[in-house]
């Protein structure tokens, strides 16, 4: 019996309790937070709490680049001071728009002082909806960014609807995470996103992360495609999967999904 994807995720844990982006690499916040959600794992949460930055954020700081993985960490942390400081940081963080972008939604960036993008914005919306729902201005802004960046016909890619007049097609992975964020907020976005996911998931199923996000999103929405995507996921035997993909697969097939089912 080959190890399940969850087994493989568990075996990727480092001695310090955290998880690296792939097995054998030092622990980092993003991978650890997602693994904590997937496995309901106290050791991973402890690692996170011990690696919170002084500004309340999470993520590596490399030279002038301050990576922001705070929202996914906030979703993983238990009630308490660490999560509250993370939420404060999320509320205070916004993407930056360059000249000509004044008045556009800001959303949340991958790193401080840069543009907002779909995936970090989706995570921030989830974290605020779950634990700081009174941050309505930021939630409205985040939803506005997802509306603004929606691909023509529905769904999302990394976060550009068009580029120099060309419509950019959506991706399964980013459509999946964005669907979690907009669940219950905007019927049109939800319907178009789900339809996009139904049309595209099979063509991108060779990627574990894409397949896992599709399966998780279908399950979240109670879509019939959840059955087939889960079946495909259980049969997947990726050669060298990364931790984030394994964690999403575990979320899609396990109990961690409830953490992302925000009100």
């Amino acid at each position: 019996m080959p190890p399940t994807l969850e087994d493989r995720l568990r075996s990727a844990r480092n001695a310090d309790g955290g998880f690296g982006p792939v097995a054998g690499v030092p622990s980092e916040p993003d991978a650890t937070a997602l693994a904590a959600i997937a496995l309901d794992d106290g050791d991973a949460r402890a690692w996170l709490a011990a690696n919170q930055r002084a500004d309340g954020g999470f993520g590596p700081v490399v030279g002038a680049v301050v990576r922001d993985d705070t929202a996914v960490a906030a979703m993983a942390l238990p009630d308490g001071d660490a999560r509250e400081r993370a939420l404060d940081r999320i509320v205070a963080t916004a993407g930056a728009n360059g000249p000509g972008g004044e008045g556009d939604p800001l959303g949340w960036p991958w790193s401080d002082g840069t543009h907002g993008w779909v995936e970090p914005t989706a995570w921030a919306i989830l974290a605020l909806r779950a634990h700081r729902p009174d941050a309505s201005d930021r939630l409205d802004d985040g939803l506005a960014l997802l509306r603004d960046r929606e691909s023509v016909g529905g769904g999302w890619n990394f976060g550009d609807r068009t580029m120099l007049g060309v419509d950019l097609h959506p991706y399964v992975q980013t459509t999946g995470i964005a669907l979690f964020a907009v669940h219950g907020l905007d019927p049109g976005l939800m319907a178009r996103g789900l339809d996009t996911l139904r049309r595209r998931w099979a063509s991108e199923a060779s990627g574990l992360l894409s397949l896992a996000l599709a399966a998780a999103a279908f399950r979240r929405y109670g879509d019939p495609a959840a059955t087939e995507t889960a079946r495909r996921l259980r049969g997947a035997e990726p050669v060298e999967p990364d931790t984030v993909a394994l964690a999403w697969a575990t979320i899609a097939l396990g109990s961690g999904l409830h953490v992302l089912e925000v009100p």
Binding site: G20, P21, V22, G24, V25, P26, E28, D30, P60, V62, G63, A64, V65, R67, A96, P109, W110, S111, G113, T114, H115, W117, E119, P120, N157, F158, M163, L164, V166, L168, H169, Y171, V172, Q173, T174, S203, E204, S206, G207, L208, L209, S210, P238, E240, P241, D242, T243, V244, A245
Partner: protein, 344 residues
């Protein structure tokens, strides 16, 4: 080793290790200060590391398709530039920023596989292929759907996802961005020889994307994002220079069998050229490639700046082997806003 490393007498890994540990006194400069027209400002790169670029060799070989004896063509090209990889740990860095069926976005996997085989025939101790896709977080999808995974499996070569691989911070050797440090995968830092393998493409932000711009894919998305927007905000052209100054690719092989023109690097149009461009110097390789594209390399600001320290940008000091670039010019439609680059 390239000329600078020969001169300093250290190999590439030693160089990187020293760079990581040293407090490199890079002369401060802003992204504005290095622009052409200010050649007398203090150099924004460490002159103790980068000497004046020397002579370079570039070979342009005809290759009409990705089928047939591509491995032999690659081997011949590498021989013409005097590539020495005997006993070396080689890392090939193709351009796999995204995948879109039927497009010419990526370095063709068949060329990558042929290069793996050619490197082995030249005595490389190991050959690894590494990439950190810039748009897609799901590298597994890009590598599988593009066919690269199957070709590498057939070739018995390994792939490393540079977006998730072990990495550590390295101080930059130049200061075109102010980033200060770059998070560089160990697979890059520990390779004896890095070969940049771009697609010959136009680029809607910097005009052309070749062996220098291709190095964006060496930095991990888990720090810089998808897309690697932190590098854009810091200055795309400056990032090209700062990254190349740390990665220091030893050779370049440009996939110009089919390139991309117009609205590249993603949404352009396929452009059959029927060439492969090999170089022992990334700047010289890009100068020659831009010339073949019908662009004036003298008008590509980042390339001219790179010629101050990263390699040879002066065509008179580039020894051309194989086809005469002037005889195989295949004009590319420029990216929107870059008509000024077209050679007159």
């Amino acid at each position: 080793m390239n000329e600078h490393e020969h001169r300093s007498g250290i190999d590439r890994r030693t160089f990187l290790a020293r760079a990581a540990g040293a407090t490199v006194a890079v002369v401060g400069a802003t992204a504005v200060g290095w622009r052409l027209g200010h050649p007398h400002r203090p150099p924004p790169f460490d002159t103790r590391i980068f000497g004046p670029p020397g002579e370079a060799t570039v070979a342009v070989l005809k290759a009409s398709s990705y089928e047939g004896a591509l491995e032999d063509v690659v081997l011949e090209g590498l021989r013409q530039i005097g590539a020495d990889v005997h006993g070396a740990r080689v890392l090939l860095k193709p351009n796999m920023v995204e995948f879109d069926p039927g497009s010419a976005i990526n370095t063709d996997p068949r060329l990558v596989a042929a290069t793996v085989a050619a490197m082995r025939r030249l005595g490389a101790a190991s050959v690894t292929v590494g990439e950190g896709p810039g748009h897609r977080r799901d590298t597994g999808y890009v590598v599988t759907a593009s066919g690269l995974a199957a070709h590498l499996r057939d070739a018995g070569a390994s792939f490393v996802d540079l977006n998730t691989a072990a990495a550590s911070p390295l101080r930059t050797n130049s200061s075109y961005t102010g980033l200060g440090e770059l998070w560089l995968p160990q697979a890059i830092a520990e390779a004896d020889v890095v070969v940049s393998m771009p697609k010959m493409k136009t680029h809607h932000w910097v005009g052309v994307t070749l062996s220098l711009k291709n190095l964006f894919g060496t930095l991990p998305g888990r720090v810089y994002g998808w897309p690697k927007n932190a590098l854009h905000w810091a200055s795309i052209e400056g990032s090209i220079l700062d990254i190349a100054g740390v990665v220091r690719p030893r050779y370049a092989i440009v996939d110009a069998i089919v390139g991309m023109e117009g609205n590249g690097p993603i949404d352009g149009t396929s452009k059959p050229v029927g060439l492969l461009v090999f170089g022992d110097d990334p700047v010289a390789t890009d100068v020659t490639s831009a010339t073949i594209m019908g662009m004036d390399p003298g008008r590509i600001a980042y390339l001219q700046e790179a010629g101050r320290f990263l390699g040879q940008a002066d065509p008179s000091r580039i020894r051309q082997a194989g086809e005469d670039p002037a005889a195989v010019i295949t004009p590319f439609a420029p990216a929107p806003g870059f008509a000024n680059l077209v050679a007159s």
